[in-house]
């Protein structure tokens, strides 16, 4: 059973607090100081893109902007760098949402990979115009890792909506 439009399964409506909670947890994960280790995905971008694809009416560019500002401060980068990138990511992901959910999960990941790469490219252009150094090709690895994580993250974030309509007291979830 796949969480796509082409499956027959009907999902429960999403809860607003769950969206806020997951975005907050992603922000916390991004704050974990891994330093310059390559291949650490941008969790906020991943979760933001997920909700923009699945709930384009609830999560959009405003959320991206606010999260981006938070990341700018946490990252010690230039103010507005992440905000700009996340706003563009949210716009593109919301635009894709009608199309991408008809595909199986592997192809969905291929759809969102260019979004993540474009987001990193925007950040790089913004900073290199400001005279920063090139971060190295390995930095783009995090986009590929994020795209690989699309499959597990989809199941993880849709768990609350998988519950059956009639509650079974003997079932934990």
């Amino acid at each position: 059973m796949q969480p796509t439009h082409s499956s027959r399964r009907i999902l429960l409506p999403v809860r607003n607090w769950f969206i806020v909670l997951t975005l907050f947890l992603a922000l916390l994960l991004n704050l974990v100081p891994f330093g310059r280790l390559p291949g650490i995905p941008d969790w906020v971008a991943l979760v933001l893109a997920f909700w923009c694809v699945h709930q384009p009416l609830k999560v959009g560019m405003a959320a991206g902007f606010v999260l981006g500002l938070a990341m700018d401060v946490a990252d010690a980068s230039v103010m507005g760098q992440h905000a700009l990138a996340y706003v563009l990511l949210a716009f593109a992901a919301a635009g894709l949402s009608r199309r991408v959910l008809w595909f199986p999960l592997a192809q969905q990941a291929l759809h969102v990979l260019p979004l993540f790469l474009g987001m990193q490219l925007v950040m790089m252009i913004a900073r290199m115009i400001g005279g920063a150094e090139f971060p190295g090709v390995l930095w783009f690895l995090s986009s590929f890792v994020a795209a690989l994580l699309w499959h597990p993250v989809t199941y993880l974030l849709l768990i609350p909506q998988f519950r059956p309509e009639d509650k079974d007291v003997h079932r934990p979830i």
Partner: protein
Amino acid sequence: MSVAGHVPPPFFKRGPAPLVRLAFFVSLSLILLIADLRFHTLEWARLAVATVAWPLQRVTWMPIDAAGDFGAYLARQSALLKENQELRRRQLEAANLLLRQQHLEQENLRLRALLDMRARLPVEGRIAEILYAARDPFSRRVIIDKGSQHGIAGGQAVVDEVGVIGQVVRVFPLTAEVLLLTDKDQAIPVEVQRNGLRAVLAGVGAGMMELRFLASNAEVQVGDVLVTSGLDGVYLRGLPVAKVVKIDRDSSYSFARITCAPLAGVERHGLTLVLGARTALPPQPDDAPATPERPAGGKRIKKKTR
């Protein structure tokens, strides 16, 4: 087709169109970017957000700290013993210098008094630990665990046991950001220890530095040690900074390309010493001496272009 003066009510109210919202947020972000990159006017906002987010950040360090503690717990006893021995040996080696330094400092003071020169300012340091490297992949910064609450101020020099690491650029209440020497934005005035040749050392990224604006026949050799010249009023004179690794004297350029590697563990983590602020140097004399041809009233005559 709608009749003039009558707009059919929309079925679903969704606010402004996506493109309008995109334009709004993108322009807002661009304004922020320019304000921060060009004018550096957003430090207060950064300070406010960072102060609020401090407990959260503390929480997120926990797994990394725990992993580090666990690793230290598993460290083999033999490794610790060896390290202990090594440290003791180094202390003994340094003791010789330290014991003589007191004497030399006294002697220096007396000699300087004889020469009627200003006494060198005693500088106190504050030990800080590097917490982690900032996530920003475009610059080389580390976060240390002392902030404005501990008396750290922007512009102070940071050194480790071998030489200069960088400079404090941003201070939060409990932490501070140190811009490393290898960052592209960082430049430091140095002199060659062997012959006192003064130059400017600038970071080029990727852990290396470059000695800029030296003529291609400049008296620099591979292996020369560069120390701070103290001309900037930030760093004390004579702190070791870097070692010359490669010299490329191409006569088609007017300057030699001199690549240097930092001496201190710039890209490593550990304990550092934040040196206290130096008192400001006397103001520099004006570049152009006042010319007597100026009109007596001190007003400049503006040329009109139109």
